[in-house]
């Protein structure tokens, strides 16, 4: 009897959450399971369920284009998140020092974020074009030996992509950091000044630990955009020169569509899901399961 009343309590709330439940189970769990299952088959354009074991994974990891993609994602991820955090924090600090026309600067720095990655990619493709962009302008000003055309070199092209992404993404981090800085009690500043602690030490040892939650949010937001980066590369370099700026998401989409090899695309997608699960799993456990028990 008691059980029954519990089941029927909050009935309307339970009905309201059914669509979300269907989406969560249907889209996330079933589709992910289906994708993983496909990665063990020889499917081309259409699913074909002959299980062939890890063949697709073996081919994946012996394909230069995939290993280069993974390597690029690591370089891109570390540099992009790193630079966004450092530059975003410095900009936030500068704005927080009560400068004049704060609103204007904030808008300028945040503005790139209003652009999509596709537009960002095209803008920087032109800026980095040796015959049209920055290099050409500086050379015409008289500095003949000036070199700035990262996208033409297989070695440096990925850094060109990082520059474009940092330009686009820093503004948001700055705003997050600024909100964090504004949330800090003014008394702490006074106390630090009374104790005669230098400004930079106040920031590094007192303020940064205090805005840790903001930094974690920023890293999570950026990490998500790193794993799925696709449009920026397509617009800016098309994965070139050669295959120097390929990324995993592009590998998946290209093989899924024009290459007509669903199985290897799903194997690659599964490999992309793995690190996410490995990172998110322990965190979810820590945040929810352990805390609920405590």
């Amino acid at each position: 009897m008691k059980r029954k009343t519990r089941m029927w309590s909050n009935l309307s709330a339970k009905i309201a959450s059914i669509p979300m439940l269907i989406t969560a189970v249907g889209v996330f769990i079933l589709c992910v399971a289906y994708s993983i299952a496909l990665s063990f088959t020889p499917s081309r354009y259409f699913p074909k369920f002959d299980f062939i074991g890890f063949d697709q994974y073996i081919r994946l990891w012996t394909t230069d284009r995939w290993t280069i993609s993974v390597y690029n994602l690591l370089i891109f991820g570390v540099l992009f998140i790193g630079f966004c955090l450092v530059i975003g924090f410095i900009l936030a600090v500068l704005i927080d020092r009560n400068i004049r026309m704060e609103g204007v600067f904030r808008t300028i720095f945040l503005y790139p974020y209003a652009l999509s990655f596709v537009v960002t990619g095209l803008i920087w493709q032109w800026m980095m074009d040796p015959a049209l962009g920055i290099q050409n302008v500086v050379r015409n000003l008289g500095w003949e030996s000036f070199n700035f055309a990262p996208l033409t070199s297989t070695e440096y092209a990925i850094y060109g992509v990082v520059i474009a992404a940092v330009w686009q993404g820093t503004g948001l981090i700055m705003c997050l950091m600024l909100a964090g800085l504004r949330g800090i009690d003014r008394e702490i500043w006074k106390a630090a000044r009374v104790d005669g602690i230098p400004l930079w030490r106040t920031y590094v040892f007192i303020i940064i630990p205090m805005i840790r939650p903001v930094i974690v949010t920023a890293v999570v937001l950026k990490a998500i955009s790193v794993v799925r980066v696709y449009d920026l590369v397509v617009a800016q370099t098309g994965g070139g020169p050669g295959i120097a700026t390929e990324v995993p998401a592009k590998f998946v989409i290209d093989h899924f569509t024009e290459r007509g090899n669903v199985a290897i695309a799903m194997a690659a997608a599964t490999m992309m899901l793995l690190p996410v699960l490995l990172l998110v799993g322990p965190w979810v456990y820590n945040e929810y399961v352990r805390r609920a028990r405590a």
């Binding site: 081309r44 081919r59 394909t63 230069d64 284009r65 493709q125 074009d129 040796p130 015959a131 049209l132 055309a149 996208l151 033409t152 297989t154 092209a157 800016q236 370099t237 098309g238 994965g239 070139g240 020169p241 050669g242 295959i243 120097a244 290209d254 093989h255 024009e258 290459r259 007509g260 090899n261 290897i264």
Partner: protein, 231 residues
């Protein structure tokens, strides 16, 4: 050349046909002869292709084919390996074939044309009226007059051999002359290979093109491996 995967691949095909010839092409792609893919002739194809790297400009990386064609039109580049679609850019710029610019099939002593085209497919349905309309569109597309007008405008060759292409320009005449002898016609590799294998070769060719340190032996082994492995 514009440095995008498919353009590099297209130039590679040209070099393959020019240096290796149609026989080698068929042995490598149609028969999947591993010895042919690892042969001296094939090494020469990759070597020649590699040498062409010096003939491109600094702005090549990632450039679209039509921006590259425009460099030829404006006299800033000497030549580009492209298909008939590039002719539209010349027509738009008011240039005449045979006078302002020329075409070379090949370049080779025995030039070969790889044929390709687009298809129209009608989904199956039951309505007789729609079927009549489909038939009308199909008849119109293949009508001799329409074929002449369309191909003269586009610069391509007609899909039927019984039409009078006297209105064709100097570039098209070269293609039409080649079409007359079956020995000069080969299947493009995207018609022979699965899109997956074709794509892997494109990746390899593109990687080789942008990595001058890659050895001929290395690229040739990978090339042979892909052809043995893929469908």
């Amino acid at each position: 050349m514009g440095g995008q995967g498919w353009q590099e691949d297209l130039t590679f095909d040209d070099v393959f046909m020019g240096v290796g010839g149609k026989d080698l092409w068929n042995r490598v792609y149609v028969d999947r002869d591993e010895d042919a893919a690892k042969s001296e002739e094939m090494a020469k194809v990759f070597e020649t292709f590699g040498k062409l790297r010096d003939l491109t400009d600094e702005g090549s990386a990632g450039r679209n084919w039509n921006d590259t064609t425009s460099l030829v039109v404006r006299g800033k580049a000497a030549a580009q390996a492209m298909g008939d679609w590039a002719r539209g850019e010349f027509v738009l710029a008011g240039k005449k074939a045979g006078e302002d610019y020329g075409c070379v099939p090949g370049p080779s002593e025995n030039p070969v044309l790889t044929t390709g085209g687009d298809v129209f497919i009608f989904p199956k349905q039951d309505n007789p009226e729609v079927e009549a309309a489909q038939l009308r569109l199909a008849s119109m597309l293949l009508d001799p007059d329409v074929q002449v007008k369309f191909n003269t405008a586009k610069g391509s060759t007609p899909v039927r051999g019984d039409v009078n292409m006297a209105s064709a320009d100097a570039c098209m005449q070269k293609g039409l002359a080649l079409l007359e002898n079956d020995d000069n016609i080969a299947l493009p590799k995207n018609a022979i290979l699965s899109s997956d294998t074709d794509g892997r070769i494109q990746d390899l060719v593109s990687q080789f093109w942008t990595t001058p340190s890659m050895t001929i032996e290395d690229v040739q082994n990978q090339f042979a491996e892909i052809l043995q492995d893929g469908s």
